[in-house]
């Protein structure tokens, strides 16, 4: 099933950008863009206004939390999925409090990714209808 939702994948790791983009394509996403760091991500958010962002938590210069706060301040309807290997409770709570919709712990299984995608799509659909 194809979906027209726009997705931005933000990660400073080439491997992660390729992997997540591939998983999204397998699930019918066609409009997938990528950003190598937080600065590029914020520029792309302004110009293309994605529906969904897969956001790495730890990146040089502008980190994931700063990007998240900026995105949610300007575009609260964009669904943001944090991808990180950080498993410390306090840090995860900070992402949630900053507006993250989901948090995927790296490394994640393809099935878990699919499960999150289903929930993300439900939220995006609700935003569009509401």
């Amino acid at each position: 099933m194809q979906t027209s939702h726009r997705v931005l994948v933000v990660d400073d790791s080439d491997h992660m950008r390729i992997l997540v983009s591939r998983l999204l394509k397998q699930r019918g996403f066609q409009e997938i863009d990528t950003a190598v760091n937080g600065k590029v991500a914020l520029e792309k958010v302004k110009t293309s206004h994605p529906d969904i962002i897969f956001l790495d938590a730890v990146m040089p210069e502008i980190g994931g939390r700063a990007v998240l706060s900026e995105v949610k301040k300007e575009h609260p309807d964009i669904v943001v999925v944090i991808m990180s290997s950080i498993s410390a409770c306090e840090e995860i709570v900070q992402f949630r409090d900053a507006g993250a919709d989901f948090y995927l712990l790296k490394p994640f299984e393809s099935d878990k990714f699919g499960e999150v995608i289903e929930k993300v799509l439900a939220i995006v659909q609700a935003h569009k209808e509401g």
Partner: protein, 109 residues
């Protein structure tokens, strides 16, 4: 109930001795409730009472008196330093609590 410290008789429901003020049971060190002497867990909060202060512990024995006499005296600034250190350690403990994906999913629901 007889007070084990001063032997005065007290009503069954009393928590403290009406003669000497000693607790008439085991003091829960979590919630401060007084429990029956034979209780192993606090009837109020469920906390284990094994390490709690029993009434007989309220009066220090000879060895305890010797320990108190030989205890180091701390200055106010030393106590402040220790409290700060304790706070820092607690903060560090909090940040290292590890979550798995299941815990995280519950947090985000």
């Amino acid at each position: 109930m007889q007070c084990t410290r001063c032997k005065a008789d007290n009503e069954a429901l009393q928590k403290f001795c009406s003669s000497c003020g000693a607790p008439l049971g085991i003091l829960c060190d979590r919630c401060g409730s007084i429990n029956r002497m034979e209780a192993r867990h606090c009837g109020t909060c469920g906390h284990a009472l094994v390490a709690s202060l029993k009434q007989e512990d309220m009066s220090p024995g000879p060895s305890e008196k010797a320990r108190i006499a030989g205890a180091r005296q701390y200055t106010l600034s030393e106590i402040e330093e220790l409290l700060l250190l304790r706070k820092a350690m607690k903060a560090e403990e909090g940040s290292t609590r590890i979550m798995n994906q299941h815990d995280i999913d519950n947090l985000f629901e």
